[in-house]
């Protein structure tokens, strides 16, 4: 007990020694801290690229005073000789929440009860998830225990923040100076502003419910902040004030994944902000796009544990994509480095901080240069945080934050001895420890034993033999004292001999006290034998022969059926096909189609191939590629349901180019789709129109110069009839009309103000609606019942515009005449009905009646399965109502292209149009037809024969990776159960929730 008190007192004294000059001192007298500490004879790695041999480092008052080979040493110096040892700058983690508690959620689904639509704070922004005013420091409590963990790994400085909300406020830069006061430790109290796509746990405010809502919210925030800064807002908004104040700090965006990084970067581009992106560890799979962000990255080392594939049934659930990621993820840092992308490491997403070293070693094994690894822990994070003058390298003026190591960092034999932070020593492994390892002749009371000491010098193990008998031995070695306990030869007796001795450097003879089993006290000596190193050396030689890890190839996308190389545009001549032109030529038999430079070049008999590849299409059919007016594949979000209008969101922000449904749709002859927002609200979000260029990145999927669309919705979904939510207007069809009237009235006023050249607050939502009023944006409206269909047409007419498309439009047949008069098209299901009350009168003759009345009619999917056979759905119009085959095919090709205003490019086989065509094995409207080749702009994106080859290569690669996984398991590596990652399949009614 007494000892403890003494220890405490000591700690206090030390603490007070470090107090600020002007702090009162009540526990003693002031002492000067002006002595120097000098480290001599070390290899000083001032930066990853520069080293000083036999260097001298001088520090004082927590800072580096001098570094070099010929520096003069002041007289009042404490000198440390580091002969043979190395000095490195200590590590910096630019992305942690060290000492800051993440708030716990309130639990429960945000949809349960009456969802919260409004914000819950006063004096702040209208959305609770925007919290730039958060100051990490006010939530910060220095966590000595946690600091210890970081210090042991070599960290000197951590960047911390409050990980809560979409805008998370400012972070602080903390030195791991457990001896110092808060004042000493805080290097910067406003070091950066943090962002994420995660909502705040402190509020249940519903908006945004989706990723695209989060993106739209951020965009609007930037507009609002500018507007506020210009002094146009009368009310106080502490959020916007803080946001404006934080603008010039480094902006760190926790993207969590490669693709969200791209999404964040795009927001930044719009507002002249270059975010520093916290990556997902999957950057390697689209490295060119990562490079194109021009962002600096903070990269986690979250390499997945090997999957346990020993149970083949479970292994079956594992996708090739996940298996590959296990194999490839350790190469992520190396790939980033080879592409000259500036990146820092972070311990973020590591289960244990102590995993850092092994992960970095693994990354090195997978091709990462050691110097780059060191830079990613030192100079780069310092630079990212704008603190290169103080941190990250060993130079005059920097903080005395450095490591003393046995050898080179990340080399096999290296040991970190000491980690100095702000001039304070943290001993991790005693560097002065005397190495006792070796063989000794141990003599006790005339008996001679063989003693061998092996293992780490700081934690040696002993083995004692008498002749051939091995005796049970235990050894401890602390503070230059060793004690050894060993058993008798006769192990049935509990008799021990105890030895104790102090250790003096440079002496090969240990001498000490021996307590014999009978209690008698004697002496012992242990004399070191000559070193025999032979065996060890051999061991080393074999160890060096380690195999280089095999890294499987990345494909685009990096999953099964991904492509090693994107398909190239080819010139092709299809000979002797039945060609469904969708033009006045109708259906042409025994006809050739020539495609050249991505366009349809000629249609006719006996065309000259020229250099084009000739494909025999005898008995086969060629049609324009299928266009799906209503799709929800290839998107990371579908519904922004947090408000009754979400015109500010766009699906273009959330394209998922890695969705296998894209490939499967191609296998069904689909070449273009419109990804519509869902139907959770009367005014939904903007659409994305894509060409299904499998393998491309999100941006390249977008239909070039596509017309602008927005989704509207009517009926049960928008009035939330089928789930428990009673607090959002509208709850009836009556309310839906008034909602539109209100929004369009406001949009009109907005438009007027904008055109008046007076200052106006940029409102993305109203701007979008104003585009509708001015005819620049088209509406595709989810609709079922005739009353509301009629209503929306009347609303549009009042505001002098036209609805472009009614999608679903299951009662279109009841108001087809009115639709024609209004000039709206219909995109419907072939035969869906009975799933809810408002589709009770849906009939499969709907398309036929609308078509016969002159409505421009299409058939859509709204479903990732049905979209694979839209040709069949079109053919149902022949059965239900007797539409001609030629017209029926147009329902899924030319007509939807017209509805989307892309028929100048696609939708028919016409010279000059894009070569987006399908070669079918059979009559394209028959149940027996299969797409044999699906071609977009002259490049073959699906090919039956290539598909077969890919199946085989997928099987082979799965097998190979399974073997590698098994090997990893057998080598004792930690594993995780095989599992299937689930992607949500979206339909109109899907309500997703972002965290």
């Amino acid at each position: 007990m007494r000892k403890k008190i003494a220890l405490l007192a000591l700690v206090c004294v030390i603490a007070n020694l470090k107090a600020q000059e002007y702090f009162p001192k009540n526990d003693g007298v002031h002492t000067s801290k002006s002595n120097f500490t000098v480290f001599k004879n070390a290899v000083i790695h001032t930066t990853p690229d520069t080293e000083i041999k036999n260097g001298t480092l001088i520090i004082q008052k927590g800072k580096i005073i001098a570094v070099g080979t010929s520096v003069s040493i002041p007289s009042n110096s404490v000198i440390v000789d580091l002969k043979g040892k190395h000095i490195y700058p200590s590590f910096i983690d630019p992305f942690t929440n060290f000492g800051v508690q993440k708030p716990k959620g309130k639990g429960g689904s945000p949809w349960s009860g009456n969802p919260q639509y409004g914000s819950s704070r006063e004096g702040y922004y209208w959305n609770d998830h925007i919290r730039p005013e958060t100051d990490a420091l006010t939530h910060f409590k220095y966590n000595t225990k946690k600091a210890e963990e970081y210090i042991k790994e070599g960290f000197g400085v951590l960047h911390t923040h409050m990980p809560d909300g979409i805008v998370r406020g400012t972070g602080a830069l903390i030195a791991l100076n457990s001896h110092g006061t808060q004042g000493d430790r805080i290097i910067s109290e406003r070091s950066a502003q943090f962002f994420s796509f995660e909502k705040s746990k402190k509020s249940k405010q519903l908006y945004p419910t989706s990723l695209m809502g989060g993106i739209a919210l951020l965009r609007q925030l930037y507009h609002d902040a500018t507007w506020y800064q210009l002094g146009n807002v009368k009310n106080k908004d502490l959020t916007l004030e803080a946001f404006n104040k934080n603008k010039n700090l480094p902006q760190i965006f926790d993207a969590e994944s490669r693709i969200n990084g791209f999404r964040a970067d795009k927001i930044g581009d719009q507002f002249n902000t270059q975010y520093i992106l916290v990556g997902g560890g999957d950057e390697y799979a689209r490295i060119n796009e990562v490079k194109n962000t021009n962002a600096k990255y903070i990269i986690p080392l979250n390499f997945p544990e090997a999957y346990d594939v020993s149970d083949p049934f479970m292994a079956n659930m594992l996708s090739l994509g996940d298996m590959r990621h296990w194999n490839q993820a350790p190469s992520n840092p190396s790939v980033l480095s080879k592409n000259n992308i500036t990146f820092s490491f972070t311990t973020h997403n590591l289960k244990k901080i102590t995993d850092l070293k092994s992960r970095i070693k693994k990354a090195i094994e997978y091709g990462l240069d050691k110097k780059t690894a060191i830079a990613a822990l030192t100079t780069v994070p310092a630079k990212i945080l704008g603190k290169s003058d103080l941190l990250g390298s060993i130079k005059k003026g920097s903080y005395a934050n450095f490591l003393i190591t046995k050898g080179e960092l990340f080399s096999k034999e290296n040991v970190i001895y000491e980690n100095w932070v702000q001039g304070h020593k943290n001993v991790i492994h005693d560097m002065d420890i005397i190495d006792l390892t070796g063989k000794y002749d141990l003599t006790i009371a005339g008996k001679v034993y063989d003693l061998s000491i092996s293992g780490k010098s700081s934690k040696p193990k002993a083995e004692i033999k008498l002749g051939d008998s091995k005796l049970g031995t235990k050894m401890t070695y602390t503070n230059d004292w060793i004690s050894i306990t060993f058993t008798d030869v006769d192990t049935t007796k509990t008799q021990f001999t105890r030895l104790i001795s102090s250790v003096v450097e440079g002496v090969d003879l240990l001498k000490g006290k021996a307590i014999l089993p009978n209690g008698l006290v004697s002496t012992f000596t242990a004399k070191k034998k000559e070193k025999v190193n032979k065996g060890k050396k051999e061991n080393k030689a074999t160890n060096h022969k380690e195999e280089k890890p095999e890294i499987v190839k990345v494909t685009y996308p990096n999953i099964g059926y991904g492509l090693a190389q994107l398909p190239l545009q080819e010139d092709m001549l299809f000979k002797n096909a039945t060609v469904w032109t969708n033009e006045t030529d109708g259906i042409l038999k025994n006809t050739d189609v020539l495609i050249k430079n991505g366009k349809i070049n000629a249609i006719g008999k006996n065309l000259n191939a020229g250099n084009a590849k000739v494909i025999d299409a005898t008995e086969k059919h060629i049609t324009a590629g299928i266009v799906d007016e209503h799709s929800h594949i290839a998107a990371a979000a579908i519904n922004e349901a947090g408000h009754n209008s979400s015109a500010e969101v766009t699906i273009e922000d959330v394209i998922s180019p890695d969705d296998i449904n894209i490939y499967r749709n191609l296998a069904g002859g689909v070449t273009s789709i419109q990804i519509l927002h869902g139907s959770a609200n009367p005014i939904g979000g903007r659409s994305a129109i894509l060409k299904l260029k499998w393998g491309e990145n999100a941006d390249n999927f977008l239909f070039p110069n596509a017309p602008k669309f927005i989704k509207f919705a009517l009926g049960e979904n928008v009035k939330q009839s089928n789930w428990q939510s009673f607090s959002r207007f509208p709850q009836s069809r009556m309310g839906v009309e008034q909602l539109y009237m209100d929004y369009f009235t406001r949009a009109k006023a907005y438009h007027k103000l904008k055109n008046s050249k007076k200052p106006y607050r940029k409102d993305v939502e109203l701007e979008t609606l104003a585009e509708i009023l001015s005819g620049q944006r088209h509406i595709s409206c989810h609709s079922y019942v005739q009353s509301e269909i009629n209503m929306l047409m009347k609303v549009a007419e009042k505001f002098d515009f036209r609805i472009n498309t009614f999608t679903h439009i299951l009662e279109g047949y009841k108001v087809a005449d009115k639709m024609v008069k209004h000039g709206v098209g219909g995109s419907t299901f072939s035969d869906w009905w009975a799933y809810k009350f408002e589709v009770n009168d849906a009939i499969p003759y709907n398309a036929t009646i609308m078509h016969n009345q002159g409505v421009l009619t299409a058939i859509n999917s709204d479903d990732p399965e049905m979209s694979r056979r839209l040709n069949q759905e079109a053919a149902k119009s022949i059965k239900y109502g007797g539409v001609s085959e030629e017209e029926a095919l147009k329902f899924v090709t030319l007509n939807p292209a017209k509805l989307l205003h892309i028929d100048d490019r696609v939708g028919s086989i016409k010279v000059g149009k894009d070569a987006d065509i399908v070669l079918w094995t059979d009559h394209p409207l028959s149940i027996y037809a299969k797409a044999e080749k699906t071609i977009i702009e002259g490049a073959v994106y699906f090919d039956l024969e290539k598909d077969k080859i890919m199946r085989k290569s997928i099987a082979r690669e799965r097998n190979k990776l399974s073997a590698m996984l098994l090997k990893a398991k057998n080598s004792g590596l930690k594993t995780q159960p095989a599992k299937k990652k689930e992607k949500q399949h979206f339909e109109c009614e899907t309500l997703e929730t972002i965290n």
Binding site: D311, F313, M314, N316, M317, S319, L320, G321, I559, G560, Y561, N661, Y663, R664, A667, E716, S721, Y813, K814, A816, D817, D831, W832, A834, Y835, K836, F837, N840, D841, I843, P844, Y845, I849, N852, Q853, E865, R868, R869, Q872, A875, I878, K879, Y880, G881, E885, D922, S926, I927, Y928, A929, K930, D947, R951, I954, R958, P977, K979, K980, K981, E982
Partner: protein, 433 residues
């Protein structure tokens, strides 16, 4: 309160009035001969130029036109096609009218072991969905309860009846077990990974099922087990004496192997797998153990990212090629309304490699065998029910699936429906304009 009830009742009745089903046809009074049609027998055979004679609801003659003399009323179907009525196994037709309206949903009961729950008494013969099956040739359905480990007892009905009692073709034909899943979905709303992971409860759930079966078996060994009143146990009786078929809803390979062993252990006479998505991997074992399959709907997406895009399209073929008895069922999203697309699901299997007549078996002859009704229906053979239809063309192709006439047990049924009525009504609306 009374007033409200009255209004509700009035509403129900008035709605009922508008939506009443087509009047069921009267029994066959006159012998009918269909001549000249291409007759698809439903067992893989075709008669190119046929004659089919049926009387009092039964087929009395079928063969080459030249070999059979006409009798009674003659229908000339030259160049057209005749098929046995299509069969929709494992359906919830008549149990749910509007999916999203809970008041109309009668397809599942609470509880785990519900073999005593009988679908037939909830079967709504006047469902608007049921009548919409017929214009596509779907004339017979197995009405199956959902939910629980044992969902209950199904029955087989024909789709033109005044009430469930009239509709029944085979009462209480089978009991449906939902085999425990070897995978479990992460509960994302509790912060778990949304993907699939091993179901740790699997063994326990199988044991519970075994216990229930052992208890059932013990109970029925009593002299007068009915006196004990253990309804769930008693309901299992038919499985042990072979009067009921055991339908096990299972998809994974491991689950299927376990079901095979389970069936052997309990000596169930007739076992059918429903779903059996991965059954193709153990087709030989299914064949060897005489276990037939109602396969996962053809029109579905592959369940795993790396699977062949056409796996669901060809799945039935993979099993059939190995000699397993297979038919198509259509459970899943929007299963009732889409049950009328059964012929096109069979057609899709043909598109992906199966012979067309074999594909037809997937919704006729094979279905009847699997459901245990092949002794009186499912194919165009002498002595069997005259449940058949005439289509202008190939009924597995939506372009040509156009029914002219349909008969259930010889009765010529209406091919109208709520939907055709609306079609005509609005077609006429625009005509008169």
């Amino acid at each position: 309160m009374k007033e409200i009830m009255y209004i509700i009742l009035l509403m129900v009745f008035s709605v009922g009035k508008i939506t009443a089903q087509q009047t069921p046809a009267k029994s066959q009074s006159e012998t009918i001969t269909i001549v000249g049609a291409i007759a698809h027998i439903g067992n893989g055979e075709v008669i190119e130029n046929s004659s089919i004679v049926f009387e009092q609801g039964k087929i009395i003659a079928i063969g080459d036109r030249s070999a059979i003399s006409v009798k009674g009323k003659v229908i000339d179907a030259s160049g057209k096609h005749v098929y046995p009525g299509f069969i929709a196994p494992n359906s919830t037709l008549g149990l749910v009218e509007i999916g999203a309206v809970r008041a109309t949903d009668d397809d599942s009961e609470i509880g785990t072991f519900n073999p005593h729950i009988r679908s037939i008494i909830a079967y709504n013969a006047e469902s608007k969905i049921v009548e919409s099956m017929r214009p596509n040739g779907v004339l017979i359905a197995q009405v199956t309860p959902r939910g629980g480990r044992i969902s209950g007892t199904s029955s087989i009905v024909q789709l033109d009846a005044w009430n469930w009692e009239d509709a029944v073709l085979k009462m209480d034909d089978g009991i449906h077990i939902n085999w425990p899943s070897i995978y479990k979905r992460g509960r994302w709303w509790l912060g778990e990974d949304a993907g699939y992971k091993p179901n740790k409860e699997y063994a326990k759930q199988v044991t519970e099922l075994e216990d229930f079966i052992n208890q059932s078996y013990a109970t029925i060994q009593l002299n007068n087990p009915e006196l004990e009143g253990d309804l769930p146990y008693l309901a299992m009786k038919g499985l042990f004496n072979g009067t009921k078929t055991l339908f096990v809803h299972v998809n994974s390979e491991k689950g299927i192997v376990d079901v095979i062993n389970f069936s052997k252990k309990h000596s169930f006479r007739k076992v059918v797998l429903v779903g059996a998505y991965e059954g193709y991997k153990v087709a030989d074992q299914l064949k060897k153990n005489n276990i037939s399959v109602l396969i996962t709907r053809t029109h579905s997406n592959p369940k795993l990212e790396d699977e062949d895009y056409d796996l669901p399209y060809k799945n039935a073929k993979l099993l059939m090629d190995k000699g397993v008895l297979v038919a198509i069922q259509n459970s899943g999203q929007m299963e009732r309304a889409n049950a009328r697309n059964l012929p096109f699901q069979a057609g899709t299997v043909a598109a992906h490699g199966l012979d067309k007549e074999k594909a037809l078996q997937l919704i006729t002859g094979n279905s009847a065998k699997i459901l245990g009704i092949d002794n009186f229906t499912g194919t165009l053979e002498i002595g069997k029910d005259a449940t058949l239809f005439i289509s202008i063309g190939d009924a597995l192709d939506m372009r040509t699936n156009q029914l002219e006439k349909a008969f259930i047990q010889g009765r010529e049924i209406s091919l109208e429906s709520h939907q055709t009525k609306l079609w005509k009504r609005y077609r006429d609306k625009y005509k008169t304009k």
